[in-house]
Amino acid sequence: MECITSVNKLKLKFPEEEGLLFNDLTISIRKGEKVLLLGPSGCGKSTLLQVLSGLIPQSIDIPIKSESIQIPDSWGFIFQDPDSQFCMPYVDEEIAFVLENLRIPKKEMTGRIKELLATVGLFLEDIHTEIRTLSGGMKQRLALATVLALDPEVIFLDEPTALIDEEGTAQVWDTVKAISKDKTIIIVEHKIDQIMDVIDRVIVFTHDGKIMADGNSTYVFSNFKEELKRFGIWYPNAWEEYKKEKVQNTFTEPSDHMLRLQNFRGYRKKENAITLEKAAVHSGEWIVVTGANGAGKSTLLLSMMQLLKTSGDYRMDGRPIKKFADLQRKAYFVFQNPEYQFLTNSVIEEITYELRQRNEVSNAEFVKKANDLLTIFGLKDKQKQHPYHLSLGQKRRLSVATAFIQNPQLLLLDEPTFGQDSKNTFKLLELLQEECQKGTIIIMVTHDLNIIDHFATRVWEVKNGKVISDWKKDEIKTGSEGNVYEYIF
């Protein structure tokens, strides 16, 4: 079959990095193929998508060298971050922007816009809807609609669901499946459970940008499982495999803490944004907060950290918590974007920041703890690096490490595993579990149902600004953990 995009002996190097990302990479995609690119983070999958689409070097200025390169005549590109791929404020204007670029006459535009929105399953009351009011899944479907406006032969998808929730992910992939019939699709993605049935070719890269495997999915997943696991790729059933191998950690003597909340309310702009009627939480509990986008999960966490105005009775170990200062050194909040919390210019300064604030740098015990944490989190050899220069997974680990150094009694985390590969996810969750067993109360917002299955001890479900259900996992019969979903939805 004829080839639609290819590159022959590609050499590519990032200006600020040593060594070539690709050295003589040859790849060709045939017309109509549905290709999945897999590989450890930093192996250059996304970069390759940009080369094959011609974005590199036309739009992104990175020098490349190749014997020959074939770029499809018409293509569309879906990016990872739903918020930074639109340039107009309203849905209709965004699609119109593409139609304008294609010089479609004005009188045909409204019809085309409605048609495109229907194709991706976005049925809005008014096409003149603000983009920022859409959920992540809807935004990505809007992105698909704008791409379809280009009538592309090839659609490139660069981790389109990394930053959106489970429900949105399903919507996006359903849409992709519906529109992919006579198109070539090239996908980079970590969460691959839901797309395996559309994919007919899988290409696996090694960390140094070489092709390790290339074939249909059955061939790749049966022959290269060990490698995929080592690279941290989310292959089908990664969670089940992980669980089998997991060794229970030795139990350390836990410290005991307790939270008590009654008629607890958090406010945004003087409006009651979250309500928690009553709850008591003990040491060693790992609570997962679930719910749809915008239900109030993050608001609940911000309120519990006293970063929003709250009312009601909130006590930790019997003492009332009324303001942020009451929680200092007792609770810690890990934000979704780790960069927000970095304050210094090197990893080692970052992790010892709290100690220096308290003039405890000279305290040998604390210095040892800081070093231990760096070792555990795999950041020992990155000590001198600027936190911004770390990879996403490393940044996240550093931000959790800075939480652990404080020995918090309550640890709040907002989507800590978003966009992480399986290696980083399991590592992070194990570290959290250890901390949990030592007595830290963990409350975490996540969309990942597997975390509920395998790590959490308790689930809070939030809906329309209210915690509507609260159940402990050991209270239900844990015979078949697969059925846990039923209790949540």
Binding site: Q58, F86, P89, D92, F97, V98, E100, M305, Q357
Partner: protein, 263 residues
């Protein structure tokens, strides 16, 4: 910001024409040295401001509040400490003369009229419409127009982000630093993560725009056709008429016995 309001006829005026007219009136206001005329001119603008923006009065007054402060502060400082010959009141450093009183009032009104024209424009013009109009009527290059529109979209995102960064840093114990050096340090450290995010986001949007075949050198069609209408005529006629009337009233029925505040 999402404030509900009714669309008035001012919303229907061609944005480029509105911008052009108001810019002209800005310059025009600078050339008015006649206090009585300045007052009547302010009146003509305030009629538009209060009755034709389609906003509830509560919002209008709220928007005007900071500018009223500017009005009083510029007027008062000029009145109390200005130079002049005919002293009305003297107490220590305070020296109110007839000339300084008029000059102060004049300056205050000028500040007020600037503010009202500016707010009226912002309240009755959608950024997207303005840039479409600039592209169509004044042949603004699409490269700049779409860059601005994309940038405007980023502003609310940046504000949200600023709040999150503040919270994130509070958790890390930033606020525990006391004194001026602590405050300075936190001011210094905020822009770095904020800018790093914004620059990255801006770059991504730019790439996404090119991926959607935005090409600044090609001709393009427009989703919104911004033309001229009867409202544009109304807008021009309103100003020509009211400014003439203002001049007439200022001459015939002067509020203050003064012609040129410069003398």
């Amino acid at each position: 910001m999402n404030i509900s309001f009714e669309e008035s006829w001012l919303h229907k005026v061609n944005p480029a024409l509105k911008l052009f007219t108001l810019t002209f009136l800005f310059v025009f206001a600078v050339t008015i040295h006649h206090l009585n005329y300045m007052i009547t001119f302010t009146l003509t603008v305030s009629i538009l401001f209060f009755f034709c923006t389609g906003q509830p009065y509560k919002h209008l007054l709220l928007f005007l509040l900071p500018f009223l402060l500017v009005f009083f502060s510029t007027a008062v400082s000029m009145i109390l400490f200005g130079k002049g010959e005919t002293t009305l009141f003297k107490w220590g450093l305070v020296n109110v003369t007839e000339e300084s009183l008029y000059r102060g009032l004049h300056l205050g009104f000028r500040a007020l009229v600037f503010a009202m024209m500016g707010i009226t424009f912002v309240l009755t013009t959608k950024p997207v419409q303005l840039f479409y109009s600039l592209m169509q009527q004044l042949k603004l290059h699409p490269k700049y127009a779409y860059s601005f529109m994309a940038a405007i979209r980023l502003i609310p995102i940046m504000f949200e982000e600023l709040q999150t960064i503040r919270d994130a840093r509070k958790v890390r114990g930033i606020q525990s630093q006391k004194g001026l050096s602590g405050v300075l340090k936190s001011i210094k450290s905020l822009p770095i993560p904020l800018l790093s995010q914004s620059i990255r986001r801006a770059f991504r949007i730019a790439v996404a725009m090119e991926a959607k075949r935005f090409n600044s050198s090609n001709a393009r069609t427009f989703y919104y056709h911004i033309g001229f209408s009867i409202y544009d005529l109304l807008f021009i006629v309103y100003f020509v008429l009211t400014i003439s009337l203002a001049y007439f009233f200022a001459l015939e029925f002067p509020l203050f016995p003064v012609t040129d505040v410069r003398h």
